[in-house]
């Protein structure tokens, strides 16, 4: 029996900046990577190793210079801006380290935002879904608070709820615990793990925290734009 279609595949992906200038810089070199549905993965590496660039490409916020990105069997290189935007909105959720919420809106409204942008949800359905998600992250009481009136940990929990709004197959988290104290970081990480297990949503988490990375299913370690380890071996190293 053939292997099931992976959630995502990178085939020979390269990314360069300054193309056409005397000194183009290649920041990703010939990346091959496969993510399966339901995985909980850490992406580690030193600053400048290309983690964020790869996350942006996987999140369809940026396009590779060479190679292919295939999401759920669709080759994204053939898609125009409208289709890319639609695919990103429907299948990928984001959690950012800084400025994770829109400050003009309450927690509930931030969670509703992806559904509002999509226009496909009836008003009441959006509200019910947002309530459910806030309950899941334990912030029902805070639903009417503006983002600025919440702690960093609470904001990240709202961001996790928001990333789940469209029931995406993949959630990309860029240093989601980087700004949090260890207790909050632990809570947020545990929440992501819980969502991963209950919703079968794939998480790709950029982190410098090796303790947290060790609690994932797989670690992808990057150095100088290349994946140097993508296996249990890296995880064993992290645990050690």
């Amino acid at each position: 029996m053939a292997d099931p279609e992976p959630l995502l595949r990178l085939e020979g992906v390269c990314k360069s900046y300054g193309i056409g200038t005397p000194v183009p810089v290649e920041v990703l070199h010939d990346i091959d990577l496969t993510l399966q549905a339901g995985e909980f993965i850490a992406l580690t590496g030193a600053s400048g190793s290309g983690k964020s660039t790869m996350l942006n490409i996987i999140g369809l916020l940026d396009r590779p210079t060479a190679g292919r990105l295939i999401i759920e069997g669709r080759d994204t290189s053939a898609l125009d801006d409208t289709d890319v935007t639609s695919l990103r909105g429907h299948r990928i959720g984001f959690i950012f380290q800084h400025h994770c919420l829109i400050s003009a809106f309450t927690a509930l409204e931030n969670v509703m935002m992806p559904m509002l942008v999509d226009k496909a949800f009836p008003s009441e359905a959006m509200r019910v879904r947002a309530h459910e998600l806030l309950a899941k992250v334990g912030l029902t009481k805070w639903q009417d608070n503006l983002a600025n009136n919440m702690s960093g940990g609470q904001q990240q929990r709202v961001a996790i709820a928001r990333s789940l709004a469209m029931k995406p197959g993949l959630i990309l988290a860029d240093e989601p615990t980087g700004n949090l104290d260890s207790k909050s970081a632990d809570d947020v990480f545990a929440l992501m793990r819980e969502v991963n297990q209950s919703e079968k949503t794939t998480f790709l988490i950029v982190t410098h925290n090796l303790d947290l990375a060790a609690r994932t299913d797989r670690i992808i370690d990057m150095i100088d734009g290349r994946i140097v380890q993508s296996s249990a071996e890296a995880q064993a190293n992290a645990k050690a």
């Binding site: 800084h98 509930l108 935002m113 509002l116 942008v117 226009k119 008003s123």
Partner: protein, 409 residues
């Protein structure tokens, strides 16, 4: 959150609300601009309408008068040589318009002409005992003439009725001759003819000179006194479009050979003033509109920079470039519309206050205020469009933001 609204509307309103101080300042700026426009426009159009009404209800839009008499040099049998070396300009006698009845019939069906009224004017002396004053005697067919010059509106005593032996005089002439209603005065025309007439009405045209010099009698009476039996010296016309009066006058002159003067020509200075007023008002509107537009644009440019991370997050959540574009265009439009509503109210209220405060010496209003609903609607619509236009460049900038760059800030 009013989630029945489209995303762009909700986000635009929230962004404006969150940047409260910025929003209040720019709304105030727009409101002041629109208030100035509304105040100036309503005041100038009221003044203009008032002046036009005063001018055009006391004179004809077009007057047809006989062409000037000219001296023709006599010639000798030898071609080219003249008898007189110097030719004096002849005096202008009071003459009738040739074929005026034919012209009345023709002009009555002329496109754009509403009323044709024949009159005979002559200079005369109004005499009462030892007092006499020189006056202009105007013979009228009252039904026609009153459609052009609304003498009944200016009657302060008696009625505006002129039968064969009746006369209407101004308040100042009545005072100087010491006469009142139903008194009789003697009119002696330049031709030497004399007639005793009864005062049936006293009018006040709002101008001392006019009240002293103008008198109105029946057309036949004036014809008899000025020795122009069956003749008229003037054909007074009104037209539907007062600003087309000069064009119609030129066409009538070409068709009849009679001199036709429009109110535009006889009130050239007034008309120039009206035009200058309109031009200056247009310029004021333009510059105020431009300053409003630049104000809105500058606020939105700053807003795009401040909100770049929000834009990045929205793009990551699946917002299209079109949605981001509309979000900022809407903010510009909303600032323009709400600023204009505020400004139109302030401008209108300011004008009402100013109008009630500014009075003539006798306590009466300087002019009647005219508030055209179209001015307010137009100001709001135009301000909205100006806001959208002003938001175009910042909105395009926001829509073109690379989400990666935007999120990074």
């Amino acid at each position: 959150m009013t989630s029945w609204l489209p995303f762009e509307w909700i986000a635009a309103l929230r962004f404006l609300r969150e940047g409260r101080m910025q929003t209040i300042f720019i709304l105030t700026a727009v409101a002041i601009g629109v208030a100035v426009i509304v105040f100036m426009s309503a005041m100038l159009s009221s003044l203009q309408a008032n002046f036009l009404k005063r001018v055009l209800t006391s004179q004809a839009h077009i007057q047809l008068v006989p062409p000037d008499e000219v001296a023709r040099p006599q010639r000798l049998s030898t071609a080219g040589s003249m008898v007189a070396a110097t030719i004096q300009r002849p005096t202008q006698r009071t003459r009738s318009i040739d074929q005026w009845q034919t012209f009345v019939t023709m002009l009555a069906s002329w496109p754009g002409i509403v009323t044709v009224s024949p009159t005979t004017s002559a200079s005369a002396l109004a005499i009462r005992g030892a007092a006499s004053r020189s006056v202009t005697l105007t013979g009228i067919e009252q039904d026609l003439y009153f459609r052009i010059v609304r003498i009944p509106d200016y009657i302060v005593s008696g009625t505006a009725q002129v039968l064969t032996d009746d006369i209407l005089v101004g308040t100042d002439l009545a005072r100087e001759l010491g006469v009142t209603l139903r008194d009789k005065i003697i009119i002696r025309a330049a031709s030497g003819a004399t007639r005793t007439l009864t005062i049936t009405g006293i009018f006040d045209l709002g101008n001392k000179g006019a009240n002293l010099r103008s008198t109105f009698v029946a057309l036949r009476t004036a014809q008899a006194l000025s020795d122009l039996v069956g003749g008229v010296t003037t054909l007074d016309l009104t037209v539907t479009d007062i600003y087309a009066a000069e064009t119609i006058a030129r066409a009538v002159q070409a068709a009849t050979g009679v001199e036709a003067d429009s109110w535009i020509k006889t009130n050239a200075q007034f008309f120039t003033a009206v035009k200058a007023q309109q031009s200056s008002n247009t310029l004021i509107r333009l510059f105020v509109g431009l300053s409003v537009a630049f104000g809105i644009a500058s606020v939105l440019v700053v807003s795009v920079i401040q909100r770049s991370k929000d834009i990045g997050i929205l793009r990551a959540m699946g917002s299209s470039r079109g949605q981001i574009l509309r979000l900022f265009l809407l903010q510009g439009g909303l600032l323009g519309i709400f600023g204009a509503i505020l400004g139109a109210g302030v401008g209108g209220a300011g004008l009402v206050f100013w109008h009630s405060y500014m009075r003539q010496a006798d306590g009466s209003e300087i002019f009647s205020l005219i508030f055209e609903p179209s001015l307010f609607i137009g100001a709001v619509v135009l301000a909205g469009l100006t806001g959208i236009a002003a938001a175009a460049i910042p909105a395009l900038g926001a829509a073109r933001l690379d989400p990666v760059v935007a999120i990074r800030g």
